[in-house]
Symmetry: D2
Amino acid sequence: MLRGPSPRQVKGLMKTKKVAIVGASGYSGEELVRLLLSHPHVELAVVTSRQYAGQTLARIFPRFANHPKSKTIRFTEPNAEQLAKQAGVVFLALPHGVAAEYAAPLIQHGNVVIDLSADFRVKNAAVYKEFYGHDHPAPDLLSQAVYGLPEIYREQIKKTSLVASPGCYPTSILLPVIPLLKAKLINPRSIIADSLSGVSGAGRKAELDYLFVECNESVRPYGVPKHRHLSEIEQEISFAAGTAVTIQFTPHLIPVNRGILTTLYLAPTEHFNDAAGAASLGERVAACYHAAYPDSESAFVRLLEGKALPDTKNVVGTNVIEIAWRLDARTGRLIVMSAEDNLIKGASGQAVQSMNILCGFPETAGLV
Amino acid sequence: MLRGPSPRQVKGLMKTKKVAIVGASGYSGEELVRLLLSHPHVELAVVTSRQYAGQTLARIFPRFANHPKSKTIRFTEPNAEQLAKQAGVVFLALPHGVAAEYAAPLIQHGNVVIDLSADFRVKNAAVYKEFYGHDHPAPDLLSQAVYGLPEIYREQIKKTSLVASPGCYPTSILLPVIPLLKAKLINPRSIIADSLSGVSGAGRKAELDYLFVECNESVRPYGVPKHRHLSEIEQEISFAAGTAVTIQFTPHLIPVNRGILTTLYLAPTEHFNDAAGAASLGERVAACYHAAYPDSESAFVRLLEGKALPDTKNVVGTNVIEIAWRLDARTGRLIVMSAEDNLIKGASGQAVQSMNILCGFPETAGLV
Amino acid sequence: MLRGPSPRQVKGLMKTKKVAIVGASGYSGEELVRLLLSHPHVELAVVTSRQYAGQTLARIFPRFANHPKSKTIRFTEPNAEQLAKQAGVVFLALPHGVAAEYAAPLIQHGNVVIDLSADFRVKNAAVYKEFYGHDHPAPDLLSQAVYGLPEIYREQIKKTSLVASPGCYPTSILLPVIPLLKAKLINPRSIIADSLSGVSGAGRKAELDYLFVECNESVRPYGVPKHRHLSEIEQEISFAAGTAVTIQFTPHLIPVNRGILTTLYLAPTEHFNDAAGAASLGERVAACYHAAYPDSESAFVRLLEGKALPDTKNVVGTNVIEIAWRLDARTGRLIVMSAEDNLIKGASGQAVQSMNILCGFPETAGLV
Amino acid sequence: MLRGPSPRQVKGLMKTKKVAIVGASGYSGEELVRLLLSHPHVELAVVTSRQYAGQTLARIFPRFANHPKSKTIRFTEPNAEQLAKQAGVVFLALPHGVAAEYAAPLIQHGNVVIDLSADFRVKNAAVYKEFYGHDHPAPDLLSQAVYGLPEIYREQIKKTSLVASPGCYPTSILLPVIPLLKAKLINPRSIIADSLSGVSGAGRKAELDYLFVECNESVRPYGVPKHRHLSEIEQEISFAAGTAVTIQFTPHLIPVNRGILTTLYLAPTEHFNDAAGAASLGERVAACYHAAYPDSESAFVRLLEGKALPDTKNVVGTNVIEIAWRLDARTGRLIVMSAEDNLIKGASGQAVQSMNILCGFPETAGLV
């Protein structure tokens, strides 16, 4: 389904990379452990966690306890110097602000760093400070970081040593929106993104708001109107549009473990007000998406046909994002909907996908 | 909390009305049974259901089995002529198309009819046919029906014999939007309504799509882009705006039993692009809402203050709709969010509220 | 449905009691607030919470925000001396060990205390220490406390000033088992109780184990084999059996907000091994239950007939316990199943029921 | 983790088997499709479904739509003659009674049949009739069928052509109980099995009882006291005990998609009444389990150590069954608890495990 191996890929296939996960105790970290344990081209060499240091993977994550290596791998205290020697590729599954502290020495030492935090996603340190409330901890590294959205930055990922893996909401919004912006099919100022997220998106934190009884039989918006993820969403949308863009974004918390469903309200640049106009623009939208995400290249983008609409249950547990669209002849708007697993395509799976590209492995290795 | 009793109210308080529910086997019907069994001013005299005829309330709805009357009231076959004699007020909890067949003879006989179906909500029979796919079954009655949104049509409800009780989605959209339109605070063409509904909204129907396994751990849009409820939503929005309005509306199915959360994206008529502008407009929006829904009159509209945002778990089981709003200085938009119980404020509770008004009972009777 | 009022009841009906809730921030406390706010014969005068002192009920419990008093009642710091003056009846919704500290001065002052903690349930201070790990804080009061299972101790509750309201699991086990033991229909040594509880049973505590993601799509036993509630269960079973009894009890955590379903495996004293024997014993079991819980007296015990089996969804939100039984001709065992709302019949509703009895109100006041 | 390949295994590894699934439209069928699509040693050649004939796998099961073969494999009408030629191994995921009709001609033609229905589980046609209500459709085949519990019948499965794959409840009960019976550690007449099942166990059937709203926030027993699965459970328990055994079994429906949690109450043959006695017997129980399910052989049985107890969330999505046990010094009973995924270890995964053994593939192929 993907293009033939590049020379770097061939070389990659010939040896097994040692990888480390720093901060593996959260939901994204756990999912990374699962993916890397069974990845055909890497060896999970180091897993760190302050909280669980000394314990085995099998004990902390019983669901992996049948994997042969789960009883031998023990969490260690994180130590950047040691990590630099123990693994070629280091995944950082740490809170923002903390991740950058590890990234700097690792990069200096020549390691590949794939950071799942927000630390290297925003190019502009002032924007980072505006949204995250503190000075950027390693501004010098910002220029070399590549935003790890493989379908958009595949070529750049191949050449970098520092991948800033995107957030879960941004992935669900950017993959549907960027092709339309690049093709000038929509007005960049019109974008409204309404997102529904499962509770694992809040992380494994002992807070009252995320107790079962507080979330079950509850549906609620939060972080209205200025969620932190807007910083990276608007940056990437502005790049695609070629102009500075501000968007509307409302996240909601929904009682499912996993999954993000995003509904996008967009104003096409081409006006239409009848079924014929809708059908004609619909063809251009379809062509735009198929050109941006050809089956031969983008194994993880599923463009829905016919009457099908995205449903999180069809993507949970996979690295796939589903995308569907409708032209509304009554309002002249384009509605685009996406569904993804927030912990996989929205976090750990996408990080592995970037590693695959960067290391020359097949892009889908360990992800199907 | 409500104004003193009118002469009609005083008269109403002096006697107990006999009421009937036609088609009480669905979720809205069950909720109506619950509300009317414990209502202080009515006697639930007749409950019909083809499916359950001959059986007691206690047997079909075990949760009411401790109510003394649940063992004596039995479902009967529906018969309009008999109903006309047995009850002064008849609630129709029937599918659209069927409800009108019962309404006509009852109205003719002088009964009060409160219809929970869509049959009398849309004033224009052609629009009804466009959205419901068949000719209107009783177009002559359309002119006398009052759209049963008590906070908007309280005075008209007092004088009618035929209440067309609104749909669940329309209630969650219209109560937040109508005051803003009447005050000309928003551009009517800008309205985008994104709604999330619990599964009871689909009714008690044995269909694969609504099985536990198909809904649990699933989030999905449906009926995009032209849901039937648009017919009544746009009618009422057009009335409030004084001009024909088309809106954008996307419903989603969420794994909760009950509750609708609606997020509205609105363009204010007054532009602003900074915090001061947002604050100033925010005050006008707040004033508009407090004038439209004063505490002294609108016991069931809860305008949220401070940082609170709507959460369906705070309204489920009640006839309350929560409304909150935010001005976004970055985009210049007004975001309004509402939460309601789709079976109570979105169906049966609102129907009882209309009955209370129509019969001269206190508006909150049996609803708190 | 209940017997006519006693002289104490008549007196009770003539005035409104002032009541206080100490420690109202948990789930049971919240449910008590709900019940007492709308109780016809009491005035909720004081609500304490260290955590929420100074805030209104409306702010902390938005679901009650439409009750007129929710905006005027503010949480206060708990103070036994003041409480003694402010309210005649004081409900303690505090952790075990802490409750007794408040009970002692209140009892001394002449107040009625209804304690929802475990502090006064176990008569034997040594057993208390064995199960709760610390010395009993007020052993002198143990003799005057009445175990607040109204269907069993109705007469004693009328005469006490200190009610030890039972735990949620004990209620679901004792009400089905005690009549059978008193009638010598089952062997006391045979009792096995397998219970399934909703997550609210764990309380409103910020612990990882009770996060939505950890509970949803999870079913698990816990506290095997010696749960603390065994101390009170075995005490009451021993009283009913007239001999010291040890039972088997396994609690499980189930992803629902509320509800306990208990399945009891019992060995009848009368052997049977065919359908006729089962039917004959079945009649005696039915007669035993109907004699113990006559409709005219026990409004909250629902004895299921025909093919019906208990279902938590039929009792959640009510003070009802459902009980059904089956004789198994293949094994000679009696299977009894019960369902209740752990926060109502298993906690706050039952406490209010005890207060009603103690104060001479109708037993069902405020509970239907 | 498993023993080295047998000659048959080596041969098996050298070629790819063609397999068919008859009746793939239910939840077990869907899970079989998932497992067989990615199995390293088989080719999924035929998938039948009356309902979906002509449609692709990708369309009916969107979650597999990214598998390359999902767009080329189409459901066909089931036809035993054609199946006999198209596939060497045929899985029957059909209702009981129907499965046998397909099995007979396939076996005659020399195919391997792995039947997920109940048709060949019970050796005695009279018992089959007692529990399933109709004559056995192919009694002549009963003697050659092997009950497909690989951990118990591994050697027999290697030599048969007809595997009767066990039911979900039986698996959760038999794997914990059989070793104890064989070692004479428990009294066979004492067995009580209390099981909690996710809703997928009811199948993909459009029935009111399994609607989201009827199952969510509900916990209920059903089929008390004589569930059909007792026929196979008691048969296998009797084989292990060497005497005819009747057991107690109560299934409950729990609001999770997948998973069975079984709690077993057992009377040890060796009496004990203190911690020392419990510890001593505990060692014998542990030794019994480790001998029955050695790590080197039984990759899918996870014997929990320390304080860990089974939790369905740790096994869902895997072919693993978790087992833990506790000796209760207070009651002298042995409590054993198990957790499995009802659709995998309880159905499709176990069927694939049997196929692996029968075909000489590694037992874990396609299952980790």
